[in-house]
Each structure stands twice: as structure tokens, then as C-alpha cells.
């Protein structure tokens, strides 16, 4: 089974801008790329998951680097970014939009591009899609349960959440770090995620996530020409530092393992649903 989908290359990378690294997840690839895009007229608006109250993410059209930085960091709960696709073009007047999303959101965007039935004059303005690795997501109260009940942290106090080394991590503004084994978080996952077989956002221009790279770095798939171009410019301009991806067990190996785990597990789930006569996303 093909774990990653089509891609041209994969690297480990991180942003060089300390402002970004301070606020962002891992290597800060999404924030750095969007800021670079906005500052160099490659993008004029980006759809991101902003921090709302109590760590509740809200989709936002960001048009300045400051807004991108404000929104930096992964939120392990559903944030309907694609719902803003049209607003970005309409009242925001953007022509070159960057979209970041989970694999399913990238799939959704791709379907919109191919079949833009209800998206008049919108999809031609999507300039860049960045996908983030995703095993599954949590509904807001699922995430809340994990943070508050399993980790014992108050949501108001949370400054960052993370998944790594088999654990769900919570960092509070009081400097505390709390964690829980990922296994224990499974009951709080969004069930709809179990029909998805895409771990690495196989249809994005660029896909990124922490898995496969050392702490503070991100693994980055460059899948399309567009994606390659912007990353190359960033590297050349010193906005990103890179190193070859570790091809061993703790690099590409673990990434491959997780990608295949998601596929195998969820293909089984899809088959199971079919046996029960339940609908699954039809792929013909």
C-alpha cells in the first residue's frame, strides 16, 4: 500500500524566524510559508484556525503576518476552515488564497476545485494548499475532556497542545506540562474520522507535520510544482532551514508506519460500515 500518495520530495525543515517558532507547532512551516506568501505577493489572504476563547478554534481569513502569528499552533479539534473559502474571495476581496487544513479539508477543497457547483469565481483563487498530518480529530468537548479530565489542566490556561511520542501533551500558561497516553484519548475521537485513509494530506501542495523529524522540526512533503516553488524560494531566501529527512526507523520509518496504520485501520472500518449497509464516501 502506498503510504504517502504522490510527492516530489520530502525534507525536514523549520522556520528561521524566532517570532514564528515561539508561537508555532514544531518547525512552524505553515505560519512561515503563509507569512512569506503574504509578504511576497504570492498570497493575499490565508484561511487559518485562529484561537478563540478557551482554546476553541475559529476559522479566520488572515491578511497580515501578525494575524498569521496570532493564529499559529495546532488545535486538536474541528475547525471548519473551508467554510470561509467564499468569504475570503467576496468581502475580503482576496485573489490569491492560502488554505491550511487537515487531510479531509484538503480533500474537500480539491473536490470544490474540481466541482465548484456552489463556488462561483472562488476556486481559481486558491493559490496554495497546505495539509497537516492527521490521524484523527476531536470534537471540541472531546478535546476538552482530554485536556481537563485526562490531563488535569484547565482549558483557559492552555497555551499549547501537542501530540508526540505516543502522548497528548498540554502546556499551560503557568509553565506546567501535562500529558496522557494517546491510547486513552481514543474514546474521545471524532468517529467520522474513521472513514478517512489520508494521513499525510495527499492532495495538498505541501503537507507537513512533526512526525518523522526531530523536535522543533517538521517533515515536509513537496507534492506539486506550486508547493516546491514557494518552499525553494523560502529556503533560498533564508526563511527556512532544512536538512534531509532521516530515512531510518525514527524518521521516514515512523511516518510510513503511522500513515499505513491509519489506512489499514480505516479501510477495515469502511468495510465494516459497508457490511452493516451504512453509507461511506463513495469512490468510483
Amino acid at each position: 500500500m502506498d503510504p504517502f500518495g504522490k510527492y516530489n520530495s520530502i525534507i525536514s525543515a523549520r522556520a528561521t524566524d524566532k517570532r514564528i517558532l515561539k508561537k508555532s507547532q514544531d518547525g512552524g512551516i505553515v505560519s512561515a510559508t503563509f507569512i512569506y506568501g503574504l509578504e511576497n505577493n504570492i498570497l493575499d489572504g490565508v484561511i487559518v484556525a485562529d484561537r478563540g476563547e478557551k482554546f476553541k478554534p475559529v476559522p479566520k481569513v488572515a491578511t497580515t503576518p501578525e494575524e498569521v502569528i496570532e493564529a499559529a499552533g495546532t488545535k486538536y479539534t474541528v475547525c471548519p476552515n473551508i467554510s470561509l473559502l467564499k468569504s475570503a474571495v467576496r468581502e475580503y476581496g482576496c485573489d490569491k488564497i492560502g488554505v491550511v487544513g487537515t487531510p479531509c479539508q484538503i480533500i474537500s477543497t480539491k473536490k470544490a476545485i474540481k466541482y465548484p457547483v456552489g463556488l462561483r469565481h472562488v476556486t481559481d483563487k486558491i493559490a496554495l494548499t497546505i495539509g497537516i498530518f492527521c490521524m484523527e480529530n476531536f470534537p471540541y468537548n472531546g478535546m476538552k475532556t482530554v485536556v481537563e479530565e485526562l490531563c488535569g489542566a484547565r482549558l483557559e490556561d492552555v497555551v499549547k497542545t501537542d501530540i508526540g511520542k505516543g502522548k497528548f501533551w498540554v502546556y499551560t500558561k503557568w509553565g506546567e506540562t501535562k500529558s496522557v497516553k494517546l491510547k486513552e484519548t481514543h474514546p474521545y475521537e471524532q468517529i467520522a474520522c474513521h472513514v478517512c485513509t489520508d494521513y499525510t494530506a495527499e492532495l495538498a501542495d505541501i503537507s507537513t507535520g512533526s512526525v518523522g523529524s526531530p523536535d522543533g522540526w517538521s517533515s515536509v512533503f513537496l507534492r506539486t510544482k506550486k508547493g516546491e516553488e514557494i518552499i525553494k524560494k523560502m529556503i533560498d531566501g533564508g526563511y527556512l532551514e532544512t536538512k534531509p529527512i532521516d530515512e531510518g526507523k525514527f524518521g521516514l520509518g515512523i511516518l510510513k508506519k503511522l500513515a499505513l496504520t491509519k489506512k489499514e485501520k480505516n479501510i477495515k472500518e469502511i468495510e465494516h460500515r459497508k457490511e452493516l449497509g451504512l453509507p461511506v464516501p463513495i469512490i468510483e
Binding site: S87, G118, R120, V122, L203, T224, L278, E284
Partner: protein
């Protein structure tokens, strides 16, 4: 030989044709790539001729004899009959029609074209975007049946449409992952994302079918799952 295309308007607002004309500078090229043999709004032909493709926008007024004649005619004369846009494909705003209005109080029953005659393709949306209409025309010209399959299925299923489809077919079926594309595509802004799920306002839904068509969890056509443009 160029593909002959006819556009026929039944009970509709003409918005689907305007949508096609909103291809702006490309319109001339599009009209140049086909042979538009009938389009009452844009050209002088007064009789619907035989055509490779007949695009029909609007619902069928069952209480109007003339309309019923046209419906028979388009099926007979069109090799490929396309129900273009919500009214023709799935009912759309005409689902709310109930008659009693002057000066034709007896005209009360409007049905989607797909419910009255066999259509080959049905395109939801109020209106479908210019880009989508061009994609469909191009796919028809190139015989790209794979691209057209979702529309063929819509035509076949003769399904009505409603924002409730999101509830029944996606949320209730444990398929909604909260991407929000339904909300973005809704032409009346009837959909808000609350707690990561669509909340459809029944006050604003016009039953155009766009939200559920756009949903990748109801149908994910194969062509979508290929990375192109590299």
C-alpha cells in the same frame, strides 16, 4: 462538425444562463467551441431544433399546456438532455410554489424536469457556478463520462434536495468531519458551522442541492483523488 447545443428556459429566472455568461471574456471562446442552435434569450431561432445537447433551466409547470409540449420536445430533440440548475435538476425555489396568484391562479404545480422526463445529466445549484457549467460543457464535448458521473447519478435518482440532506446523509450517518464546505457553497448563507457541524436554517434553505453535492463525505469522485497540476 461542432457539437450543437440548445438552451431552453422553462419556469426559471434565467440565472443559470447569466451564470454561463459570467465567464466574461471567455464567453466568446465558449460560444465559438459549440454551435449554439437555440437560445431564445441570446439568439433569434424560434424553433427548437434537434441538438446534441439541450440545456434546460427552470422547473416544469404541470399546469401549463405549452410547457408540457416543450418538455416532450426537448426529450425528443436532445441527444443529451441536461437539467441545468436547481429548479430543473432538483426543484429549488420552485418547491415553494403553490399557485393562487393573479393573473394565473391555476398555475400551482411545478416539478423538476428530472421528475417529468428522463434527463441524462442534472446539475444542482442556484445557480451553478460559471466554472462548473463550463466544466460540464467541456466534459460533454470531450466525452469525459467520468467527470459527468455525479451529474448522471443526480439525473437518475430524481432526488429532490434540501439542506436536511446534510443531516440525514452526513451528520446522522457519522460521516461529517466538519470541513465547512457546505456552508461556503450555500448560496443563501443558510448554513452556519456550530460545534463543527452544519446548522441549516430552514428559513433560508431554497432546496438547491448545492450543499450535499459539494460534500466530500457523500460522494468523492475518483478524479478528485488524483493530484494534478504538478
Amino acid at each position: 462538425m461542432m457539437v450543437t447545443v440548445a438552451h431552453v428556459q422553462l419556469s426559471s429566472c434565467c440565472g443559470c444562463l447569466i451564470s454561463l455568461s459570467d465567464t466574461y471574456e471567455k464567453l466568446i471562446d465558449i460560444l465559438g467551441s459549440i454551435d449554439l442552435v437555440y437560445c431564445q434569450t441570446l439568439a433569434d431561432a424560434r424553433e427548437i431544433p434537434n441538438a446534441d445537447v439541450i440545456l434546460v433551466e427552470g422547473a416544469v409547470c404541470l399546469d401549463d399546456h405549452h410547457t408540457m409540449e416543450i418538455v416532450k420536445e426537448v426529450r425528443e430533440k436532445g441527444k443529451i438532455l441536461v437539467a441545468l440548475g436547481a429548479c430543473s435538476a432538483v426543484g429549488g425555489i420552485t418547491r415553494f410554489c403553490k399557485g393562487g396568484q393573479m393573473p394565473k391562479p391555476v398555475q400551482s404545480s411545478f416539478s423538476a424536469l428530472t421528475e417529468v422526463v428522463k434527463c441524462d445529466l442534472a446539475i444542482p445549484g442556484c445557480p451553478p457556478s460559471p466554472e462548473l457549467i463550463v466544466n460540464v460543457i467541456t466534459a460533454v464535448l470531450n466525452g469525459n463520462m467520468e467527470y459527468l458521473r455525479p451529474f448522471a447519478k443526480y439525473a437518475e435518482s430524481k432526488r429532490g434536495a434540501c439542506g436536511c440532506d446534510l443531516i440525514i446523509n452526513v451528520i446522522n450517518k457519522s460521516l461529517c468531519m466538519g470541513c465547512g464546505v457546505c456552508a461556503a457553497s450555500c448560496p443563501t448563507r443558510a448554513i452556519k458551522m456550530i460545534e463543527g457541524r452544519p446548522l441549516v436554517s430552514s428559513e433560508l434553505c431554497i432546496k438547491c442541492g448545492v450543499c450535499s453535492f459539494q460534500c466530500p463525505r457523500i460522494e468523492l469522485p475518483k478524479g478528485v483523488c488524483q493530484l494534478d497540476g504538478e
